[in-house]
Symmetry: C2
Subunit: 233 residues, 2 copies
C-alpha cells in the first residue's frame, strides 16, 4: 500500500466511508486479477469461441455477473487478458535476459522467454479481434506502445550498463524485436510450428543485436559448471 | 499455351473428346480466376463476414453454385484469394525492385510495393482463419513456403547480377523480409496506421539489406527526369 494511504488510514476511524471504499477497491482489484488469470488460461487452451463467460466464472469461483460488471463483454476480457499476458512475458524476458553474460546469450534468453510462452499468439489474436471490435483497439494500441517503450528502455539500459554496442539504434532494435516476434508467431501458427521452432526461427531472423567490446570480458563469469570444489564431501 | 498442347491439338480432329475436355478446362480456369478476382476485391473492401457467396457471384456475373463447385466454401475462397493476391504482389514487387539502381532503392521499391497493396493484410487474415479451419492450412503453408523460396531466388539473383553484397545470407534476408512485413502489418492495423506509415515502419525495421561495391556504379543511369530533347516541338 502506498504511504499516502497508510497515513490517511491512521487519521480516519475504522468505520470511515473512505476506508470502506478503499477496502472495496482493493477487493475489486483482486477479483479483477483472479478473473483475468482464469480467462487467460482458458482462452489460451481453447480459444475465444470455445470459452463462455460461465466457464470463466466457474474457473475463478465467481459469478458471471462479476465478469460483465468488470469487463462488460467476453471480447473485452479476452483483449485485456492478452495485453496483460504479453506485458508480463516481456518483463519476465527482460529479467531473464538481464542475467546473461554475453550479447548472444542475452538475445537468446529474450527470444526463448518471449516465444516459450503462448503470450504472443494470444496477443496476435487480440490484435486481430480489434479489426471487428474497434472499441477494443485503444488497449491494444497502448500495449504495443508499451512493448516498444519498455523494450527500448530495458535494451538501452543493458547496453549502457554492460558497455555493449548495439548494431541498430536501440529504438529500432526494440521495435524490430516485436515485429519479428509477431510475424514469426503468426507464420509459425499457420505452419503448425512448435514453440521451440518459433524461437529458433526468431533467433535466426533477429541475428546479432549487439557486440561486446573486443577482448574485454567486463563481467566476471561465476558458477560456470558444477565445480567439485564447491560440493561438500 | 504450352508447345505440347499446340502439337497435340494439331494431331487431333476438332470433335475429339480430349479437345473438348481441354476447352472445358480452359473455360473452368477462366471462371475460377474471375471468381477469385471478384472475391478478392469484395473481401478486401468489406471483410470475410460482410461478404456472402451471393455477393461474389453477382459481382463476377456467375451463379452461387459455381462458387461452391469450384471452392466449396466462402472460407476456402477467402484463403485461396488471399494466397493468390500475396503471391502476385510479391512478384510485382520483385519486378519493380529489379529496375532500381542502388541497394537502398531496391529495398525501398520492394517494401513500397508489398505494403502499398492490401495483400499482406488480406493474407494475415487468411493465416488467422486457418486456426479454426485446419482444412485450409495446407494452402497457407505452401504460400508461406513459396514466398520464402521465391523471395530467396529473386534476391540471390539480384545480388549476383549486380555484384551487390547481401549483409545477411539471402535465405535469412528473404525470410526476415516476410516476417517483418507480416508483423508490421498486424501491428499497424491494430494501431490504425495508413499504408504509407506501414511502409515507413517496415523500411526502418529492414534497415540496409545489401551494399554496392565501393566506388563502382555498375549500371549506367539512363532516363533520369523528363528531358525536353525527347519531346516533339
Amino acid at each position: 500500500m502506498a504511504p499516502k494511504s497508510v497515513q490517511a488510514a491512521s487519521e480516519m476511524p475504522a468505520g470511515d466511508p473512505k476506508h470502506a471504499a478503499r477496502a472495496t477497491r482493493s477487493a475489486g482489484r483482486q477479483m479483477r486479477s483472479r478473473l483475468l488469470d482464469a480467462a487467460s488460461l482458458l482462452f489460451k487452451e481453447r480459444g475465444l469461441a470455445a470459452v463462455s463467460i460461465a466457464d470463466i466464472a466457474a474457473s475463478a469461483d465467481a459469478f458471471p455477473s462479476q465478469i460483465t460488471y468488470y469487463f462488460r463483454t467476453k471480447e473485452a476480457l479476452f483483449v485485456e487478458a492478452a495485453c496483460r499476458d504479453v506485458l508480463h512475458v516481456a518483463r519476465a524476458a527482460e529479467e531473464h535476459a538481464g542475467k546473461q553474460l554475453s550479447p548472444a546469450d542475452y538475445t537468446r534468453a529474450l527470444v526463448d522467454s518471449v516465444m516459450g510462452a503462448d503470450a504472443v499468439g494470444f496477443f496476435v489474436e487480440a490484435m486481430m479481434l480489434t479489426r471487428r471490435r474497434q472499441d477494443l483497439a485503444p488497449l491494444v494500441e497502448r500495449t504495443v506502445e508499451r512493448l516498444h517503450a519498455e523494450g527500448l528502455r530495458a535494451y538501452a539500459a543493458e547496453m549502457a550498463a554492460r558497455g555493449w554496442h548495439s548494431r541498430l539504434d536501440p529504438e529500432t532494435s526494440a521495435r524490430r524485436f516485436w515485429a519479428i516476434a509477431i510475424g514469426v508467431t503468426l507464420e509459425g501458427h499457420a505452419m503448425g510450428r512448435a514453440p521451440e521452432q518459433l524461437a529458433t526461427e526468431m533467433l535466426r531472423l533477429i541475428g546479432t543485436q549487439a557486440d561486446a567490446p573486443a577482448g574485454a570480458a567486463r563481467l566476471k563469469i561465476v558458477g560456470a559448471g558444477n565445480s567439485d570444489s564447491s560440493s561438500e564431501a
